[in-house]
Symmetry: C2
Subunit: 283 residues, 2 copies
C-alpha cells in the first residue's frame, strides 16, 4: 500500500540552501502514481479535517481566547493550478469558514498606498481559514521582474513581509505558503489547451505569453523571495506542480497539519447546561 | 422511480394568499421518503450545476456585459438548518465564486445607519453567488417582534426592501429568498440535542429559548414579511424544514433554476485565437 505521509508534505519546505532548479516539477516524491491509492490517500483524513475545521469555526464564533486561524498563500506561474487546488482541497470544507481572496493587478488607489495596505484587510479573522490566490508576494515577483519598483524598495519589502507575517503568526495564525512549481513545457501544454478549447478561452490572456518570455527571471525572483521569507512561523513549500493531483494532495496535507497544530477542543459551555436543559424540556 | 422536479421546488413560492399555518413543516411534497432516491435526486444535476457556476464566474471575470449574479437569502427560526443548507448545497460549488455573509445583531455603528446600510456592501458582484445567512429581513422580524423599531418604521422597511431588491434585480441579480419552516416540536428536539452533546454546546445560546417563547409572534412577523415582499423579481419560498434533507434538496433546485434562467454562454475570446495559438506553439 502506497501511503502519503505528512513527512512527505513537509519535505517540500524551503530552507536556507534551497535551489529552485533542484526541484523537478514532474516529480511526485513519496508517492508512486496509482489512481486508486491517490483517491484513498487524498480522502484519508476527510473526517478529521471536517471536525478540525468545525472546531476552528466553533472556537472563533465562541470567542475562545487564543483561537487561531489559518492562512494559505498560493503562488505560481500562470496555469500552475492555483484554482484547481482551491477547488479540490477546499470544496469539502464548510464554505462559511472560508475566505478566498484573489489578488489581481493593483488599482490606482492601491498603488498609492504601501504594498501591504490592500492585503491587511484580508488577514483571516479568528476561526477563519483564508486563502490568498496570489498575494503580497506579487510585489516582489512581477514587480521585481518588470522593474515596477526600485531595487531598494523591493529589498525593503522582503523584510516588511517577514514582519507582517510575524505579527500575524503572533496572533496564532498558522501561515502556509505554497509555490506550485510547474515546468515550462507543462505551461506551454496548458496554454495551448486553453486556446484549443473555446470553453476555456476566458482563462487565456495574451499577456500570459509575455510573462512566459521572462520565465528565467521569474524563477530567480521566486527563489529569492522564498529564501528571504521562509521562516519558522511562515514557511514556504515548493511543491512540484506538473502532476496536478499530487500538488493538491500535498497542499491538503499541509492544511491538515496546520489545523492539527492548533490543538483545539470544542468550546466549553458558557451557561448552566443542566438548567438550560430543564428549561428546554419545559418549553 | 421517485423524481424531484423543479415544479415541486417552485411550488413553495409565497403568493398573495399565502398562509404560514397551511404549510406543514414535516411534509415533503413531491417526494416520498427513500434514502437512495434522495441521494440520486440531490446529485442528479451536479454536472450541470458545476458548469453553470463556472460559466457565471467566467462571465463575471471576463466582464461580459449583462452578466448576472445570484443572491440566496436564508431565514428561519433558530436551529432551522440554515448552516446545513449552506454546507450541503454549496460545498460542491467552487469556493472562489461564493460569498457567504452571516448577519448577526447589528453593531452600534450599524444601528446608527439605515437598516440597509450594512447589507448593501454584500450585494453579489457580477458573476458571484452570494448567500445571506439571516439578512435585512431581521429588521422586520426580530425588530418587529421585539418592538426594536416603531411600527411606522417597520412599515417603511417593507417597501424599502422591495425597492432595494428591485434595484438589484434590474442588474440581473437572481434573488431567491427561503424561509426554512420548522415546527415548534422540531426546534425543541434540536435544542435538547445541542444541550445533551458537549461538542454542540457552542451552538447553543440561552437567548434561543427566549425567542422561542415568542414563537407565534415570529410566525406572524414571517407571514407578513413574506407576503409584503414576495415579488416576481425576488420571490419568497417557504420550505418545510423538519426533514432537513428535503429542505436542502428544494433549495438546491431553486439555485439551479436561478442559474439556468441566466441563459449563459462561455465568454467569447477577446483576442485573435489563431494568432495566439501560433505564438504559444513557438514559445
Amino acid at each position: 500500500m502506497d501511503k502519503f505521509t505528512m513527512e512527505e508534505a513537509r519535505s517540500h519546505r524551503v530552507g536556507p540552501d534551497f535551489s529552485l532548479a533542484d526541484v523537478d516539477p514532474t516529480s511526485t516524491p513519496g508517492f508512486e502514481w496509482d489512481k486508486e491509492a491517490w483517491e484513498r490517500e487524498f480522502h484519508e483524513h476527510d473526517a478529521e479535517l471536517d471536525e478540525l475545521q468545525e472546531k476552528l469555526y466553533a472556537n472563533g464564533r465562541s470567542k475562545v481566547p487564543g483561537t487561531g486561524a489559518v492562512l494559505l498563500v498560493l503562488q505560481g506561474m500562470d496555469t500552475a493550478g492555483k484554482g484547481g487546488v482551491i477547488r479540490h482541497v477546499f470544496n469539502a470544507f464548510d464554505p462559511q469558514a472560508l475566505k478566498i481572496k484573489a489578488f489581481g493587478a493593483p488599482t490606482a488607489e492601491e498603488r498609492s498606498h504601501d504594498f501591504l495596505w490592500r492585503v491587511r484587510p484580508h488577514e483571516p479573522a479568528v476561526g477563519q481559514i483564508a486563502v490568498f490566490d496570489r498575494s503580497h508576494y506579487e510585489d516582489v515577483l512581477i514587480q521585481r521582474v518588470r522593474h515596477m519598483a526600485p531595487p531598494e524598495e523591493i529589498e525593503r519589502r522582503y523584510d516588511a513581509i517577514v514582519e507582517f507575517e510575524r505579527e500575524m503568526a503572533s496572533r496564532n495564525v498558522r501561515i502556509i505558503k505554497v509555490m506550485l512549481h510547474i515546468s515550462q513545457d507543462f505551461q506551454k501544454q496548458n496554454l495551448i489547451e486553453r486556446l484549443e478549447d473555446p470553453d476555456k478561452h476566458w482563462k487565456y490572456n495574451p499577456g500570459d505569453l509575455d510573462e512566459r518570455e521572462l520565465w528565467d527571471e521569474y524563477q530567480e525572483a521566486y527563489e529569492i523571495a522564498m529564501k528571504r521569507t521562509s521562516t519558522d512561523f511562515a514557511p514556504w513549500y515548493c511543491i512540484p506542480g506538473d502532476r496536478k493531483k499530487y500538488a493538491r494532495m500535498a497542499v491538503k496535507y499541509l492544511v491538515l497539519d496546520a489545523l492539527r497544530s492548533l490543538n483545539m477542543s470544542w468550546p466549553p459551555a458558557n451557561f448552566n447546561v443542566e438548567l438550560e436543559l430543564e428549561r428546554a424540556k419545559k418549553s
